[in-house]
């Protein structure tokens, strides 16, 4: 299925400074649905070019990263269990502290 992935707050630096990625990701073998858990590992393998520890911790994102599925905090849709649909927009954004 086709997804739009966006990186911000400095996370784009981990993927060649490209902020918006139009990608095609299929559910894991034997699964009906594509979950955020699978998408994260797909992103780590296919998009993250350096310092993966700046993006992930364990099987989730590192502290300080907000994940938004269609402009909505993934905490509200089941975090890693969130299931994705065609044309969904997933945003990964690092919280900023500067001022």
């Amino acid at each position: 299925m086709k997804l739009t992935l966006e990186f911000g707050g400095g996370l784009e630096l981990l993927c060649d400074s490209v902020k918006i990625h139009h990608v095609s990701v299929e559910p894991q073998d034997g699964e009906q649905k594509l979950t955020m858990k699978h998408l994260l590992s797909w992103v780590r393998t296919n998009l993250i070019k350096e310092r993966p520890e700046m993006f992930m911790k364990g099987d989730s994102v590192r502290p300080g990263v907000l994940v938004l599925v269609n402009d909505c905090d993934w905490e509200l849709s089941g975090q890693l269990d969130t299931s994705l649909e065609d044309k969904d927009v997933v945003v990964f954004i690092s919280t900023l502290h500067g001022g």
């Binding site: 911000g8 707050g9 400095g10 902020k19 350096e50 520890e53 700046m54 590192r62 502290p63 300080g64 990263v65 907000l66 938004l68 402009d71 909505c72 905090d73 905490e75 509200l76 945003v91 954004i93 690092s94 919280t95 900023l96 502290h97 500067g98 001022g99």
Partner: protein, 478 residues
């Protein structure tokens, strides 16, 4: 002759500086006295007004202006206030009630920097009753591109004094409280207690957790803004049952993920936009108008020209600050060490690593002596390319640290080219020096070079900053 001219110019500059400083002091005293006078006048007028009311039995007086020029319409706005704020009073959704609420409110702005500057200017201009400003920093030349409340005349002086003078110049009827101190757990509760709303305009992780927790303990809404590079973020925490900062970020980020404006850069107008929006949210909360940005977050991408507002999680019952079971107390708050919790120092002094043995390091002065003596050497500058373009030492070659591994052959060939004996080896007699901005990355680079066999590589202690400080005062710093 030339040296006489130089010392004359120096003396004149000194005199100008001294005069400027006394001019600023006088201006500040005048603005403080103006504000004091305004308050006395207001009190006297109110006093006369009450007296007149008591004395007056003449029914015709109800159609004439009272002594201070205000009808009593129940909102308490004197005629000069009606005129000053008229364009806001004309807004049906804000109106005189919104203004009256604003005049009665108090806002604490923590940080008079890139975010605080525009926030403070708008808060003072729009007529917030009392504004507190906390900062312990002084104004520096490299602040001015974004910290627009400060001017050149205040360089080297307290940001709080500078910001307070600017606010008073715009609106002498607003009470400005100057807090020239660092915001710490020891003074936080006593400061925040006196205000209705808090604006977080700081620039570091430990302060953000500290301010959040303090606001939770005291039940104050927190207008939180942040900006870096070309992006900004904004939300309202701890408002009307909404989430707090810890609900969103229970665990602090790794220190390596926390970039600072001093390292990563920031376009001045970006914190400007976010600071203005912080003022707007504070005005909404203070005047009870509109829907504050609680449970939502605004994300601003200046380069793409995009603002998006996303829905964030609600208050977390498990939150360590505002959760149901473990609500934080004042005593607990005072005990928290935010530097340990976030593994980040509250001080802005840059990190100084010490990775190498003394023999593998030389001072910038010593490096200069060797250059003057004509020592054959190669100087590698490991800063990012966009730093190198700002300024660099002559004949240095730029190999940014992340690409060092891939570009080792360039170093080898530079050494070979300089070596008269054409002794094609990385152990040649040609010296190899490494420099960066402050002397941390150069040590990392030398460590790696040693591992790869460039055993004579040395780092220049303190980098280009020490070169500018100890060798060439005209060398630009950034």
């Amino acid at each position: 002759m030339e040296s006489d001219g130089g010392s004359d110019a120096y003396e004149i500059r000194q005199k100008i500086e001294t005069l400027k400083a006394s001019k600023n002091d006088i201006e500040r005293q005048i603005s403080a006295l103006d504000a004091q006078l305004q308050r006395i006048n207001n009190n006297e007028n109110n006093h006369i007004k009450t007296k007149e009311k008591v004395n007056s039995n003449d029914s015709s007086s109800s159609l004439t202006l009272e002594n201070n020029g205000s009808f009593d319409f129940g909102h308490g706005l004197a005629s000069d206030m009606i005129y000053r704020y008229s364009r806001q009073l004309l807004l049906p959704s804000f109106g005189v009630q919104g203004q009256a609420n604003l005049l009665k409110s108090s806002v604490l702005v923590i940080g008079a920097g890139g975010l605080g500057s525009p926030a403070l200017l708008y808060l003072a201009a729009c007529g917030v009753g009392r504004i507190g400003i906390v900062d312990h920093d002084v104004v520096e030349l490299n602040n001015l591109h974004r910290q627009i409340i400060h001017g050149e005349a205040y360089i080297g002086r307290s940001k709080v004094e500078s910001a307070a003078a600017a606010c008073r110049a715009i609106n002498s009827t607003v009470e400005i409280v100057e807090l020239k101190e660092a915001f710490r757990t020891t003074n936080a509760l006593d400061i925040v207690r006196k205000y209705d709303i808090v604006i977080d305009a700081t620039d570091n992780v430990p302060s953000r957790y500290m301010i959040n927790d303090c606001c939770v303990v005291l039940g104050k809404p927190l207008i939180s803004g942040a900006a870096l590079g070309l992006e900004g973020q904004l939300t309202v925490y701890n408002y009307n049952g909404g989430p707090c900062y810890r609900c969103l970020f229970p665990t602090p980020p790794p220190t390596t993920a926390c970039q600072r404006c001093a390292d990563s850069g920031v376009l001045g107008v970006v914190p400007g936009v976010i600071g203005c929006l912080q003022a707007l949210e504070a005005i909404k909360v203070a005047s009870y108008v509109g829907e504050p940005l609680s449970g939502r977050m605004l994300l601003f991408d200046a380069l793409a020209g995009r603002l998006r507002i996303v829905k964030i999680r609600g208050r977390s019952l498990q939150c360590e600050a505002c959760g149901e079971n473990e609500a934080l107390t004042e005593e607990q708050f005072r005990e928290i060490d935010y530097e340990i919790f976030t593994q980040t120092s509250l001080s802005t002094v840059p990190l100084k690593l010490n990775l190498l043995p003394v023999g593998s390091r030389i001072s910038s002065k010593e490096y200069r002596e060797r250059v003057v003596k004509g020592e054959v050497h190669v100087l590698v500058d490991v800063r990012p390319a966009h730093h190198y373009k700002i300024v660099s030492l002559p004949k240095s070659i730029n190999i940014p640290l992340p690409s060092l591994e891939a570009r080792l052959p360039e170093i080898t060939s530079a050494l070979v080219n300089k070596d008269d004996s054409k002794n094609a080896s990385i152990d040649s007699n040609v010296s190899l020096y490494v420099i960066c901005r402050r002397g941390n990355d150069s040590q990392r680079a030398v460590q790696y070079l040693h591992k790869m066999g460039f055993s004579s590589a040395k780092d220049i202690i303190g980098g280009l900053e020490s070169w500018a400080h100890d060798v060439d005062p005209n060398f630009p710093t950034y």
